[in-house]
């Protein structure tokens, strides 16, 4: 079982390396979306500091959603997905492996880039630390929740738009607590409560999302 998990993670990472444009689009989207705000809002540092958590988190949501479409769609089109569903491995494990690989490809770069982009918003080092922590805790939840939407819209025309309608509302709690944690820390209230909530959301989606995703995949693969 662990071997199958490892095989699928390595497979998806290898595919991402062979097809680098997929990773780069998400990452560049994140960079550009965040860099546009200071240009549009103007160089008023107080304003920038205030809007930074929200901007970072909204950009992370959109970037993560942008990458969702590719999570299962290519495997579905070339038949590897249906083969995965009829292997003697638990499908939840395989889905979890795919989501982990997806997060490593599209989530981790966002976490690592955030300190650099934070400089544009004159964030304090404390705020940047909390921002990284919340992104680190929150982006896996985004991938997990998004996987359900991606599985549900497999093979549908205009699936991309439908995914955003399905998934974005579900992302709202992550957005509120993620951005809230940074704001609370900066204002001196302490973000521990928000961060605990992010952790709870992650654990909940870790348990429930693979089950829902597998059920949706089985329906889509019929």
């Amino acid at each position: 079982m662990f071997k199958a998990f490892y095989t699928v993670v390595m497979r998806d990472l290898l595919l991402a390396v062979r097809n680098r444009s997929d990773i780069l689009t998400t990452v560049f989207f994140f960079i550009i979306a965040i860099s546009l705000f200071p240009l549009g809002v103007g160089p008023e540092l107080n304003t920038l500091r205030e809007i930074a958590p929200g901007v970072f988190w909204v950009a992370a949501l959109l970037a993560s959603m942008l990458a969702l479409e590719r999570l299962f769609a290519i495997d579905y089109a070339d038949g590897t997905l249906e083969q995965m569903l009829i292997t003697p491995q638990p499908a939840t494990i395989l889905v979890l492996a795919k989501v982990l690989a997806h997060w490593l490809i599209t989530g981790v770069p966002l976490v690592l880039l955030s300190p650099l982009l934070g400089l544009q918003y004159d964030l304090s080092s404390e705020a940047i630390q909390v921002l990284m922590l919340t992104l680190f805790l929150g982006t896996p939840s985004l991938s997990l929740i998004g996987a359900i939407g991606a599985a549900l819209t497999l093979g549908l025309r205009g699936g991309g738009v439908l995914v955003s309608l399905l998934v974005l509302p579900l992302y709202i709690p992550v957005l509120i607590f993620g951005a809230g944690a940074v704001e609370a820390t900066v204002s001196g209230l302490g973000g521990a409560g928000h961060i605990s909530m992010l952790g709870a959301i992650f654990l909940l989606s870790l348990v429930l999302s693979p089950l829902a995703t597998v059920a949706a995949l089985r329906v889509s693969a019929e």
């Binding site: 071997k3 199958a4 095989t7 699928v8 497979r11 290898l14 595919l15 062979r18 097809n19 089109a77 070339d78 038949g79 590897t80 249906e82 083969q83 995965m84 569903l85 009829i86 292997t87 003697p88 491995q89 638990p90 395989l94 693969a221 019929e222």
Partner: protein, 211 residues
């Protein structure tokens, strides 16, 4: 071993087949016949558990396959219309991943040998995307040579293959049946077997020669 009882599958709002029943034992080959759209592929996908029948039961060793997904999956190999291989990976990589997911422990040497047997010598480490349609099919069919599953479900396995490959595949299938395997396949070609039994099942309402 494989038993089908009172099976009905509805796609959209049309019933493709109903009250379908047959059984398959070791050393038997079932040749599915029928005109285009008669439900051959749907039947195969139902038998491997991808499609849920609207009525009836497919059972393997006396138990519903939907109650024993993982056990059944271990003893069944399904090759569909889609090759199920990644265009960006090489033939060896594709085969390695597929056999690991099938729960097989295959060494790299074996993978290369199997691909050579399939007539892919010199193409093992090319991205599958650059291979021809027939060569892609050969990569996918190489799984048959590695498989330890008794039941093979093959959907049009001969498409895109050249004559030599068709003959080779015929012998592979014949050997599998001879060794107490079971094969269900759809094809518009004749299937010859030296030993074992060939059953035929005709789906649809049209007669031979009707368009």
């Amino acid at each position: 071993m494989l038993e089908v009882n009172n099976l009905e599958v509805i796609r959209g709002d049309r019933s493709l087949f109903s009250e379908l029943g047959f059984s398959l034992n070791t050393g038997e080959l079932l040749h599915l016949l029928g005109h285009n759209g008669s439900g051959k592929t749907t039947l195969l996908r139902t038998l491997c558990g991808l499609i849920k029948p609207s009525q009836g039961v497919v059972s393997w060793k006396g138990m519903n396959i939907r109650r024993q997904r993982d056990e059944f999956a271990l003893e069944m190999l399904f090759l569909g219309h889609l090759n199920g291989i990644k265009a960006d990976l090489t033939a060896v990589e594709n085969l390695r991943i597929l056999s690991r997911l099938d729960g097989l422990d295959v060494s790299d040497d074996e993978l290369w040998q199997v691909l050579e047997k399939m007539g892919l010598y010199g193409h093992e480490d090319l991205a599958v995307g650059v291979l021809s349609q027939g060569q892609k099919r050969r990569v996918s069919l190489a799984r048959l040579l590695l498989s330890k599953s008794p039941l093979w479900l093959l959907d049009e396995p001969f498409t895109a293959l050249d004559k030599a490959a068709v003959d080779f595949l015929q012998t592979v299938i014949a050997e599998h049946v001879e060794n107490d395997g079971m094969v269900i396949l759809t094809t518009h070609q004749d299937v010859g077997l030296t030993t074992g039994e060939v059953k035929q099942l005709r789906l649809g309402w049209k007669k031979d020669g009707d368009v």
